[in-house]
C-alpha cells in the first residue's frame, strides 16, 4: 500500500514560496492539492511557510477530505502566528461542523479545539454545543474531548456556557466510547479545578463499571483511572467493586491490567476479610508476572510499579522471585530494576538461589550492573541475618577473581556488614588487606580505612597499613582524609604506643595546617582538643558503641508509598515521586518559548532522571550515623594530663574554637524536606521579611554520610513571581553539620499564569545527590511593606474610593483577641498598622492599614468582642484576588 509522497520534499529551490503561491491559486484541483502537499512537506522539514496562509486557507472549501485534512493541519500549525488571518477560516469551520458527513463534522470541531486563538474559540461554542448532542457517536466522542480542550484555553467560557453539564450528561450516553471520552475529559477538568465538578457517586460508579465491558481498551484505561479515586463506603461495597474489576486482569493490554491492579489495591485497603484479601493477592500475582513477558519498555514500567506493590503487599509475589532473574538479553534498565525486586523478595528460603544469581551477574561485563549486583549481596546480608555468612563467602569468592571494581565494591559492602554484625566476621580482615594496594576509588579506600581503624586492636600491623596511606594524605579526596583522621585517632586510642603517636601528630598537623577543607580542619581540632584535655572522654566519644544499621535504603516513607500506590501505572509510580514533583503544566499555558521555565535560572537544568538519576551519590545507601558521636564539651576546668598539647609544642589556647552558628537560630523553621526523603539531607525553610526585604530563611542539616557541597536553588513559577535575587550561598556541609542562610528574594520575576496559588515549588541540588523538589507555602504577610502606615483621612478616602465589590470579608470563629495592645504590636511587627478603633454595641471595631508590593493599599477592619472567640475580618483593596492569602496571613498573625 506504499506510495511515494517523498517527491514533495524534493522541490526545495529558491523562489519556492512564490511558486507555491501560484500553484495554490491554480484553477486545477489536482494542482492545488499537490501544492498543499508541498506546503505541508515544507512545514514538516521545519521551513516557515506561514506567509502562504491566505492561499492555503482558500483551498479549505473542498469536497476532498484528504485535502481538507491537510489544510486543517496547516491551520493548527500557523493559526497562532497569524491570528488575524485565522478568522478567515471560521466560516468554513462552522459550515463543516454541520456537514452531512459525520467524519467532517467531527474533524471540524476537533481541529477548532486545537487552534488556541481566542477569536476562533468564541466561534467554537455553538458548533460544540450542537456536536455534543449529535446523532453520530463518532462526533459526540470527539466533542467530549473538545470540551476539555476548551477548558484548557478558557475555563470560564466552559462553565458559563453549560458545557460541564452537557459533558456530565454524556456519562449516561448509550455509546461506550463516548462515555469513556467524557470520563477522560471530566477527570482532566477536575484536576485543574478546585471546585468539585466530577464527583463519582455509587450510581455513576456502577454505570461506568458496566461501560467498562464494552469500550475500547483505551477507554477502559480512562475509566479505571478515574474510578481509582472513588472511596468505597464500606468493605462490602469495596468487595463488589473488586469483583467487577478483576476480569480486567485478563486483558491483553498491559495498561488495562495495571490500572485494574491499582483499583483493586485501593479497594483492598477497606476489605477486612483476610480470606478475600488472600484470594485477591493470589489473583493479582499471575497477571503481574505476565507483564514481564511484554516489551522491555513495558517491563520497565511494570517493574517500577511492582517495586511499590511488594513494599505494601509483600505476599503477592513472595513465591515468584525466579521470574525476576535476569535474562541475558534483558536491556540494562530492566536488569537493574529486577535486581531491586530480587533484594526485596529475598528470604531465608530462597537466598541460596538468589546468591547464585547475584554471583553470576557479578561476573558480567556491564560495570554498573556488576557493582549493583555486588551491593545487592551486601544488602541481603544486612537484611537476612541467617544468610549473612553465606553472603560473606560469596563476596570473598568475588574478591578472589581480582576484578578491580568488583573488589572495591565488595569492600564497601563488607564494611556495612561489619557495622551490622559487629564482632562476627572479623576473621576475614586479613583477606581484605591483601587487596589494599589495588583500591583506587575514594569510597572503597575510605571503607577499608574505616575497617582498619575500627578493628585496629585485632590487626597486628594496623599501624603499618595506615601509615602506607598517610604518605599521600594531602592528595587524597576529602572522604578518605576524614576517614584517615578518624582511623588514626582510633588506632592511637587503642594502641597508645610510639608509632601511632607519631602518626597522629603527622595527621593532625596535616589536617589542621595543610588543608583548606574546613570540615577536615574542624574535625581535627575537635580530636585534638579532646585528646589533649581528656583522653578518657576521647575514648568514650570516638570509640563509642555505634547504633545498629538496617537496610531501609529502599523502603519509601509510608505516606509517600500510599500516594504512589494511588498513582500506579502513571509517571509518578515510575519516578517514585509524587506528581507535584514533576508536573509542570500551567493551566492554559500557551506555547512556551524555550528556556523561560526558570527565568531566574543561574544554571540551565540538565537532564535529570528522577527514577535513579545519574547524579545520585555513589555512596552505599544505608543509614549510618557519622562515626564520630557528637562531642560532649570537655569540662575546661579539670586539669588533666596533657597528652598532646606539649608534644606538638602548641598551646591549647591557640586552638580555634569550634564555629558558632553564624545566624542566631530564632524560632525553629518548618521542615520541608525531611532527612528520610532527602537521603540524609534535611531542609527547613520559611519566607521572612527583614529590613524591608523578603528573604528565604533556610536551614540545611546534613545527616548523610558524605559531605555535601555545590548547593543551588531554583524556584518554579509561582503566583507572586518569587525568585532568588542572588545565588544560594551554603558552604560545604560535612556529615552531621548544619548551616543557615538568608537568601534574598525578589518578586514579579517568575510569574505563573492561572489561578492564584500560595504554593512555592522549590528545586534544590548539590553535587552529591539527585535534585530534590519540595513545596513551601507562601506566608503572605512577608509581602506587607514598611511604608503601609496611613493617615486617618487617607484611610477614609481610600475606603470610599474603592468600590464595594472590592470588599471581602471572612469570619474566624475560633480566634480570640485577648490583649488589644499586644495584638496591635504584633500586627505592626508584620507591617499592619493600627489606624483607629470604635465601639459598635458591645463589639470593638479596629481599623488597620497595610501596603502590598508596588504600593497597592490594603485596608483591614476587624470586628470582635475582646476576650471572646470570633473575629470578623473585612478587607478592601484594589487587588481582591489576593484576599485568600491576606486572610490566611491575618489568621496566622492573630493566632500566633
Amino acid at each position: 500500500m506504499s506510495r511515494n509522497d517523498s517527491k514533495y520534499f524534493s522541490t526545495t529551490k529558491k523562489g519556492e514560496i512564490p511558486e507555491l503561491k501560484e500553484e495554490l491559486n491554480s484553477q486545477y484541483k489536482d494542482k492545488r492539492k499537490d501544492a498543499v502537499k508541498k506546503v505541508i512537506a515544507a512545514m514538516t522539514v521545519g521551513k516557515d511557510v506561514s506567509s502562504l496562509f491566505t492561499d492555503v486557507v482558500n483551498c479549505m472549501q473542498t469536497e476532498n477530505l484528504e485535502l481538507k485534512k491537510l489544510v486543517y493541519l496547516y491551520l493548527i500549525n500557523y493559526a497562532k502566528s497569524q491570528p488575524d488571518l485565522a478568522i478567515l477560516a471560521v466560516n468554513t469551520f462552522v459550515k463543516d461542523s454541520q456537514d452531512p458527513n459525520p467524519l467532517i463534522r467531527a474533524l471540524a470541531v476537533r481541529t477548532m479545539g486545537c487552534i488556541r486563538v481566542d477569536k476562533i474559540t468564541e466561534y467554537l461554542c455553538d458548533p460544540l454545543q450542537r456536536c455534543l448532542k449529535d446523532d453520530d457517536p463518532y462526533v459526540r466522542k470527539t466533542a467530549a474531548i473538545c470540551v476539555a480542550k476548551l477548558y484548557d484555553i478558557n475555563a470560564e467560557l466552559v462553565e458559563d456556557r453549560g458545557f460541564l453539564e452537557s459533558l456530565k450528561d454524556l456519562i449516561s450516553d448509550n455509546n461506550p466510547m463516548v462515555v469513556a471520552n467524557a470520563v477522560a475529559a471530566l477527570a482532566e477538568i477536575q484536576d485543574n479545578s478546585s471546585r468539585p465538578i466530577f464527583e463519582i457517586t455509587s450510581h455513576t460508579l456502577s454505570k461506568l463499571l458496566t461501560a467498562l465491558n464494552e469500550c475500547t481498551e483505551w477507554g477502559q484505561v480512562f475509566i479505571l483511572d478515574a474510578l481509582s479515586r472513588y472511596k468505597a463506603a464500606d468493605a462490602r461495597e469495596a468487595e463488589n467493586i473488586v469483583e467487577r474489576v478483576t476480569p480486567r486482569l485478563q486483558h491483553a493490554n498491559c495498561a488495562v491490567v495495571l490500572s485494574a491492579v491499582k483499583m483493586i489495591l485501593q479497594q483492598m485497603e477497606l476489605i477486612t476479610s483476610t480470606d478475600v484479601v488472600r484470594n485477591l493477592c493470589k489473583k493479582m500475582a499471575p497477571p503481574l508476572v505476565t507483564l514481564l513477558s511484554a516489551e522491555p519498555e513495558i517491563q520497565y514500567v511494570a517493574l517500577r510499579n511492582i517495586n511499590l506493590i511488594v513494599q505494601r503487599r509483600p505476599t503477592i509475589l513472595a513465591h515468584e522471585i525466579k521470574v525476576f532473574f535476569c535474562k541475558y538479553n534483558d536491556p540494562i534498565y530492566v536488569k537493574m530494576e529486577k535486581l531491586e525486586i530480587m533484594i526485596k523478595l529475598a528470604s531465608d528460603r530462597n537466598i541460596d538461589q538468589v546468591l547464585l544469581e547475584f554471583k553470576e551477574y557479578a561476573t558480567e561485563v556491564d560495570v554498573d550492573f556488576v557493582r549493583k549486583a555486588v551491593r545487592a549481596i551486601g544488602r541481603c546480608a544486612i537484611k537476612l541475618e541467617r544468610a549473612a555468612e553465606r553472603c560473606i563467602s560469596v563476596l570473598l569468592e568475588l574478591i578472589k577473581i581480582k576484578v578491580n571494581y568488583v573488589v572495591q565494591e565488595a569492600i564497601i559492602v563488607i564494611k556495612d556488614i561489619f557495622r551490622r554484625y559487629p564482632n562476627t566476621y572479623e576473621s576475614i580482615i586479613a583477606t581484605l588487606c591483601e587487596s589494599l594496594d589495588t583500591l583506587d576509588e575514594p569510597e572503597a579506600k575510605a571503607s577499608m580505612i574505616w575497617i582498619i581503624g575500627e578493628y585496629a586492636e585485632r590487626i597486628d600491623n594496623a599501624d603499618e597499613l595506615l601509615e602506607s596511606f598517610l604518605e599521600s594524605f594531602p592528595e587524597e579526596p576529602a572522604l578518605v582524609q576524614l576517614q584517615l583522621l578518624t582511623a588514626t585517632v582510633k588506632l592511637f586510642l587503642k594502641k597508645p604506643t610510639e608509632g601511632p603517636q607519631q602518626m597522629i601528630q603527622v595527621v593532625l598537623n596535616n589536617a589542621t595546617m595543610e588543608t583548606d577543607n574546613p570540615d577536615l580542619r574542624d574535625r581535627a581540632y575537635i580530636y585534638w582538643r579532646l585528646l589533649s584535655t581528656d583522653p578518657e572522654a576521647a575514648k568514650d566519644v570516638v570509640l563509642a558503641e555505634k547504633p545498629v544499621i538496617t537496610d531501609d535504603s529502599n523502603n519509601l516513607d509510608p505516606s509517600l508509598l500510599d500516594e504512589l500506590l494511588v498513582n500506579i501505572a502513571t509517571l509518578s509510580s515510575v519516578y517514585h515521586k509524587p506528581p507535584e514533583a514533576f508536573v509542570t503544566r500551567t493551566h492554559s499555558s500557551a506555547q512556551k518559548t524555550e528556556d523561560d521555565d526558570y527565568p531566574d535560572g543561574s544554571e540551565s537544568e540538565s537532564s535529570v532522571n528522577l527514577a535513579n538519576g545519574p547524579g545520585s551519590p555513589p555512596t552505599s545507601s544505608y543509614t549510618i550515623p557519622p562515626s564520630v558521636a557528637p562531642a560532649t564539651p570537655p569540662s575546661a576546668a579539670a586539669p588533666v594530663p596533657d597528652l598532646l598539647g606539649d608534644l606538638i609544642g602548641m598551646d591549647n589556647s591557640s586552638i580555634v574554637p569550634v564555629d558558632q552558628p553564624a545566624t542566631p537560630s530564632g524560632p525553629p523553621l518548618p521542615i520541608l524536606l525531611p532527612a528520610s526523603t532527602g537521603q540524609g539531607l534535611q531542609i527547613s525553610a520559611q519566607l521572612t521579611r527583614r529590613d524591608g526585604q523578603v528573604f528565604y530563611n533556610m536551614l540545611f542539616e546534613n545527616n548523610s554520610q558524605v559531605p555535601l557541597d555545590g548547593f543551588m536553588i531554583q524556584f518554579n513559577k509561582n503566583t507572586f513571581g518569587l525568585a532568588a535575587a542572588a545565588p544560594l550561598q551554603v558552604p560545604q556541609l560535612p556529615p552531621g553539620a548544619s548551616a543557615r542562610t538568608l537568601l534574598p528574594m525578589v518578586m514579579y520575576q517568575n510569574m505563573s499564569q492561572g489561578p492564584p496559588n500560595s504554593v512555592l515549588q522549590v528545586a534544590l541540588k548539590n553535587n552529591q545527590q539527585p535534585v530534590w523538589y519540595f513545596n513551601d507555602k507562601v506566608l503572605f504577610h512577608v509581602f506587607f511593606t514598611e511604608d503601609g502606615r496611613m493617615e486617618r483621612a487617607t484611610f477614609l478616602e481610600t475606603w470610599r474610593s474603592l468600590p464595594d465589590s472590592n470588599e471581602v470579608s471572612k469570619d474566624f470563629p475560633t480566634i480570640v483577641i485577648g490583649g488589644v495592645d499586644a495584638t496591635v504590636e504584633r500586627l505592626a511587627a508584620s507591617n499592619i498598622f493600627f489606624i483607629a478603633k470604635r465601639k459598635n454595641a458591645n463589639q470593638d471595631v479596629f481599623y488597620f492599614s497595610a501596603k502590598l508590593p508596588r504600593g497597592v493599599p490594603l485596608l483591614i477592619e476587624l470586628t470582635t468582642v475582646v476576650g471572646n472567640p470570633g473575629v470578623k475580618s473585612a478587607i478592601k483593596t484594589p487587588s481582591p484576588e489576593m484576599s485568600t492569602f491576606i486572610f490566611e496571613a491575618i489568621e496566622t498573625l492573630l493566632r500566633s
Binding site: S2, A106, D136, W218, R244, C254, A255, P287, I298, V365
Partner: protein
C-alpha cells in the same frame, strides 16, 4: 488523576524529528529534538537508557523500531503504561499500512501519517488503534477513489474491531496453538527458571458477525461442569485475552465467547510455570590448550518422545571474540562460525526425539592477551527449534463453535506447534 500526552514524535535514528504532532501546545519540537539527540549521543547505546526520562519539566517516553524512534512528551502525570503500550500499537498500525515502519516509509507516506496521528490520538488521549478498521476510512492513494461518507460503525461500536457486511464464499478459521518454551539453566546444570508461554493465533475468514465459542481442556471449566476428564485437563496459570473476548463472561463460567476480528490476531495467550523436563539439553565442554588454542565439545540431546521430531534446530554456541580459524566437525547437521555474534551456529534440520548429536570445534586464539582486559561477556548457549504437532502443556482445542445468523457452516482448522523461546543454558 488524569494526564495526556502533549505531543507525539517520530524521530530518525539520530534523534531528529521526522514528523510530529502537537496535541496540546505546551512542548516544542526544538526542545524535544535537542534533548533526545543529546540523550542518544551521550549514551551511545539508547538500549541502555531508561525508556522514561525527565528533562526540564517534560517527561519523555520512547520506543525504537528499526531506524525510527517513537516518542511522546508530556508535562502531566500520565498513565505511562498506557502511553508506552500505545507507542507499540502505533508501530503495528504503521506496519499494517506501510508493511515496514522505517524512516523511508514515513517520508513516503507523510500525508497518511498525519491523518493517522489525527485519528489515533486526540488531545493526547489514545483513541483508536484498530489498523484494519482505520484503513477502511484512512486510505492510501490506490484506494482513494470514493469519498468516505461516514466513519465505519466499528469505530464507535461496542464491537470496535470488526466491520459489518464482510462476506466470504468459503468460511474458514485457522487456529494455531503456538507454545514457546523459555528456560534458564545455570552453570551448575540446575534449571532455575522454566515456563511456557502459549498463544492461540487465529486467522478468520468468516462472513457477517459470527458468534464463536471456544472449548479447551481447561481443568477449572471441566471440573465446574462436573465432567469426568477424558485424557488430560490442564491448568492455565495466567490467561490474557484479545479485547474481543467477553471477560466478564469468562470470569463467570470460564466460557471463551467472542466475535472475532477479520483476518489474523492473537485470540489469547497463556502462561504455565510448571517445571517441565527441558526438551533439549546441551552440554558444552570448553578446554583451553595453552594460550593459543581452544577446543569445544558439545553434546545436544533431545528429551521428548520419539514419535515427535524437531525441525530447524539452531544451537548458538558462544566463542571468544578473538577466536580465529575454526575447525568444526559434527555428527549431524552443519555448523558455521558467525564472528558478528561471537558464536558458532549449529543447524540441524531434523532432530527426532530421544537422540543425541555431537559437535567438536577447535579455534585458534591470539597468543598475546591484554592483562588489563575486562572479562569476556559470558553469553549462554541458546537453542531455537520447532516441534510440530506437539505442545508441552498438553492443551487441546475441544471445539470451536461458530454461529452466524445466516446459518453457514464454517470449517475450523487447528494446528499445534512448540518452539524454543528464550532458551538459555549458561556455560560452566
Amino acid at each position: 488523576m488524569s494526564g495526556a500526552a502533549s505531543a507525539l514524535f517520530l524521530l530518525d535514528i539520530k534523534g531528529r524529528v521526522l514528523i510530529w504532532r502537537d496535541y496540546r501546545g505546551d512542548v516544542t519540537a526544538v526542545e524535544a529534538e535537542r534533548f533526545f539527540t543529546k540523550l542518544i549521543e551521550k549514551e551511545g547505546d539508547p538500549q541502555s537508557q531508561d525508556p522514561v526520562v525527565y528533562d526540564n519539566g517534560v517527561s519523555y517516553m520512547f520506543v525504537q523500531h528499526s531506524n525510527v524512534y517513537l516518542m511522546t512528551a508530556t508535562r502531566q502525570n500520565c498513565n505511562a503504561a498506557s502511553l508506552i503500550f500505545f507507542l507499540h500499537r502505533i508501530v503495528d498500525v504503521f506496519k499494517h499500512y506501510f508493511e515496514e515502519l522505517e524512516e523511508e516509509s514515513l517520508r513516503d507516506n507523510f500525508v497518511v501519517v498525519y491523518e493517522l496521528l489525527d485519528e489515533i490520538m486526540d488531545f493526547g488521549y489514545p483513541q483508536y488503534t484498530e489498523a484494519k478498521i482505520l484503513s477502511e476510512f484512512i486510505k492510501t492513494d490506490a484506494y482513494r477513489m470514493e469519498v468516505t461518507q461516514r466513519p465505519p460503525m466499528a469505530v464507535t461500536n461496542a464491537v470496535s474491531w470488526r466491520s459489518e457486511g464482510i462476506n466470504y464464499k468459503k468460511n474458514e478459521v485457522f487456529l494455531d496453538v503456538v507454545e514457546s518454551v523459555n528456560i534458564l539453566v545455570n552453570s551448575n546444570g540446575q534449571i532455575i527458571r522454566s515456563d511456557v508461554v502459549g498463544a492461540l493465533k487465529m486467522r478468520t475468514y468468516l462472513s457477517g458477525m459470527p458468534e464463536c465459542k471456544l472449548g479447551l481442556n481447561d481443568r477449572v471449566l471441566l471440573e465446574a461442569q462436573g465432567r469426568a476428564t477424558k485424557g488430560k485437563a490442564i491448568d492455565l496459570e495466567d490467561i490474557k485475552f484479545h479485547q474481543c473476548v467477553r471477560l466478564a463472561r469468562f470470569e463467570n463460567d470460564r466460557t471463551i465467547s467472542f466475535i472475532p476480528p477479520d483476518g489474523s490476531f492473537d485470540l489469547m495467550t497463556y502462561r504455565l510455570s510448571t517445571q517441565v523436563k527441558p526438551l533439549f539439553w546441551v552440554e558444552a565442554q570448553v578446554e583451553k590448550h595453552s594460550k593459543s588454542r581452544i577446543e569445544i565439545t558439545v553434546k545436544a540431546r533431545s528429551q521428548f518422545k520419539e514419535r515427535s521430531t524437531a525441525t530447524n534446530v539452531e544451537i548458538e554456541l558462544p566463542v571468544p571474540a578473538d577466536a580465529t580459524t575454526p575447525n568444526v566437525r559434527t555428527s549431524m547437521g552443519s555448523a558455521a562460525y558467525a564472528p558478528e555474534k561471537d558464536a558458532l551456529i549449529w543447524k540441524i534440520r531434523s532432530f527426532p526425539g530421544g537422540k543425541e548429536y555431537m559437535l567438536r570445534a577447535e579455534f585458534r586464539l591470539p597468543s598475546i592477551t591484554d592483562e588489563e582486559a575486562t572479562p569476556e561477556r559470558k553469553a549462554p548457549i541458546r537453542v531455537k527449534f520447532e516441534i510440530p504437532y506437539f505442545t508441552v502443556s498438553g492443551i487441546q482445542v475441544r471445539y470451536l463453535k461458530i454461529i452466524e445468523k445466516s446459518g453457514y457452516q464454517a470449517l475450523p482448522w487447528v494446528r499445534y506447534i512448540t518452539t524454543g523461546g528464550e532458551y538459555e543454558l549458561r556455560l560452566i
